[in-house]
Symmetry: C2
Subunit: 405 residues, 2 copies
């Protein structure tokens, strides 16, 4: 039935990792770069701020003119110009002179400080009275104080959030080279599968894997195309051969176990190579992995709950890493609030709900049961060498929240 | 300068919450429902499984026929039919008979158990030998064992993940009513703003807020339109009036402080109502909030770091709740690894990096400084009534990760 003994999940991960690659890169508008990963380092073309600028609304002055100023002893200065946002003054500040200035505007030549408007009193004839002293440099944001021209702004292979978008823009770039979004084809196989409907034909079931896989692949930030295929060797093989060069990976559901005559696995073997078939995991034993024309094919069990787990364990990390998004499963330790039986020799992934470090395993563990996934926010992971967990004992937990890129 | 005393952040949140609304609903393809929120309860139209089905590949039999079976004492049965996936048998299993069955196929009439293929030995003349006993019900997944027709599958107002997509499909629906994606207009104001470029014109700076806001609004799962506007009352007012009815909310940056003559705040007041102007927060003091034709206008400071914080504190929760995504800031407690000065009477939001419960505040706190946001993964939040944090003392922290819907 399976090509060998059931393989351990760790061995499967090792095999799959040999086929990990990165998508090609493309240059895109920085506007579209949210949640992408840049290819090259970004060095800034600009100092930031790009000039000495005022950090306040007020007057650009020579600080020493203000040293004796106080409420009782104001200093009078002549206002010779005003600099608004985006403009600059071609006048020069000398002792006894001031230039009105807006926050963010360039400090005029000669001035070395800005006195806040609040500490000045306008008088009639183009003069202001200064009623407080400022030190040289006060209320000035200096050229290059945040970053200096040529500074490294973004390391290569950085996941781009809004702050990275802003900094790359400030560095002078409106385009950026990033890894392409992975293109994923999902083929849900099965003669028994129908679209959601009000009255089910006899022996048919609704193709819920279509929707589970659609959502999951979107959660991995990839582009997804969905296909349904009947359990027919030729139809499946033709679909595979037609599609394989258009996608970075193909994910199938169903057709991996004897019941379907292994249609999927046999046809992948027929036109390519099957490297894994049958793993020591529950749910998900009839998982297979193969390569057709260098394209990895992840063959998931058709059981909804099994397909769900298999995707998260094997496919999710692969799709994220295709885009160079750094991802590894992060297990946390929780205390189980009940006894969980498990068999030696296989990994168990048990749908569970975690709150405040206490994990509550879901009772119904059948691989046809997906309703329990809705109240779940984690898998309990019971390794091969562990024979279950006692109530009150610690166990490893994989939180669904940790899947978010 | 400001319409009143500086308002506390809590008071501002209270005022804004009075204008919270939900977007209209729309019926969409279930295929597109990932990360949307459904409006109504979903009751399933189907039992799941929809019929008693085989959980294994093997033979449907009457269990009592197998009770005496063992390797040394096999029981011989006549195979009268085979049921593949998606098909059913119109034959009836009686004592002495068996029907071959694939996993997931309907149990034929008369049978009450499935014996796994592994425990059978085919013999020539359409007979099999059974070498193990099964109990009634063994290897059968019963009709409605996961969910029963009419069961509540999805509460109203549920955030839809891949498992909810799958369950709604199983319930018989290929469409779902959800809250519309919020439509957000961002207007970055400022004569000094230019697009990213290699050589900056004098006194100009790059419009990094455009990119920060673009990314941030995408992170809130909303549709965003970006505009730049010069510091001109009429131009801004016209843009506001033309746009206001097309968007759920408008977010502006710049033009909220005296330096710009408060262009933005004054024009919002001119055509609508300004409810907040000036808050007791750092960065972000010159925040304003107003209403024009019932559309909320969030007026953020033009300082990049201030706009960044103000968005996260006020705008993010509002946009998420527009879609009925349940969101509230979740503060966690960390230990500061250095002293953090802070003033009484205002909230400080300090960019910081948290690891293992230890929080490292970023030194450069100027509101023009956004480079520190790239190495940050959290804000330290120091409330109004706290005069800073000592090294080794606990403080409240808002993790960026908690923003992910």
């Amino acid at each position: 039935m399976f090509i060998s003994e059931l393989m351990s999940v760790n061995d499967v991960v090792d095999i799959i990792s040999k086929y990990q690659f990165l998508t090609d890169s493309e240059v895109i508008d920085l506007d579209d770069a949210y949640q992408r990963v840049n290819v090259d380092k970004v060095l800034t073309l600009h100092d930031s701020p790009p000039f000495d600028k005022s950090a306040m609304d007020g007057y650009a002055i020579i600080a020493s003119d203000s040293f004796s100023a106080s409420n009782n002893n104001p200093v009078s200065l002549e206002v010779i110009d005003y600099v608004g946002a985006g403009s600059f003054s071609d006048k020069k500040v000398k002792s006894g002179l001031a230039i009105g200035i807006a926050t963010g505007s360039p400090i005029p030549e000669g001035a070395d400080a800005v006195i806040m408007k609040e500490y000045t009193i306008p008088s009639d004839d183009g003069m202001i009275d200064i009623v407080s002293a400022v030190s040289p440099g006060e209320n000035v944001a200096f050229l290059g104080e945040d970053v200096k021209k040529g500074d490294l702004i973004l390391e290569e292979n950085t996941f781009i959030r809004s702050q990275e978008m802003a900094m790359v823009a400030l560095s002078g770039y409106s385009k950026i080279e990033v890894y392409k979004k992975p293109k994923v084809l999902v083929i849900n196989t099965g003669d028994e599968l129908v679209e959601p409907c009000e009255v089910l034909p006899p022996a048919k079931i609704i193709n819920s894997n279509h929707y589970a896989m659609k959502g999951k692949i979107e959660s991995c930030l990839a582009d997804v195309t969905m296909e349904h295929c009947i359990d027919d060797e030729n139809v499946f093989r033709n679909l595979l051969l037609e599609s394989v060069s258009d996608y970075d990976i193909i994910v199938t559901t169903g057709g991996t176990a004897v019941s379907k005559g292994d249609v999927v696995v046999r046809m992948v073997g027929d036109v390519g190579e099957v490297l894994v078939h049958g793993i020591a995991a529950r749910p998900g034993k009839p998982f297979a992995f193969g390569i057709v024309n260098e394209t990895p094919i992840f063959m998931l069990s058709g059981y909804p709950a099994a397909a769900f787990v298999l995707f998260d364990i094997f496919v999710r990390p692969f799709i994220l890493k295709l885009q160079n998004i750094n991802y590894n499963h992060k297990l946390v330790t929780c205390i189980s609030n009940r006894k969980i039986p498990s068999n030696l020799g296989r990994i168990d992934y048990i749908r569970a709900y975690v709150e405040d470090g206490i994990v509550n395993p879901k009772l119904s563990r059948g691989s046809t049961i997906i309703s329990t996934l809705m109240s779940a926010n984690a898998y309990i992971v019971i390794e091969e060498n562990r024979e279950g967990v006692f109530e009150g004992e610690t166990c490893d937990v994989l939180l669904f929240d940790s899947f978010k890129p």
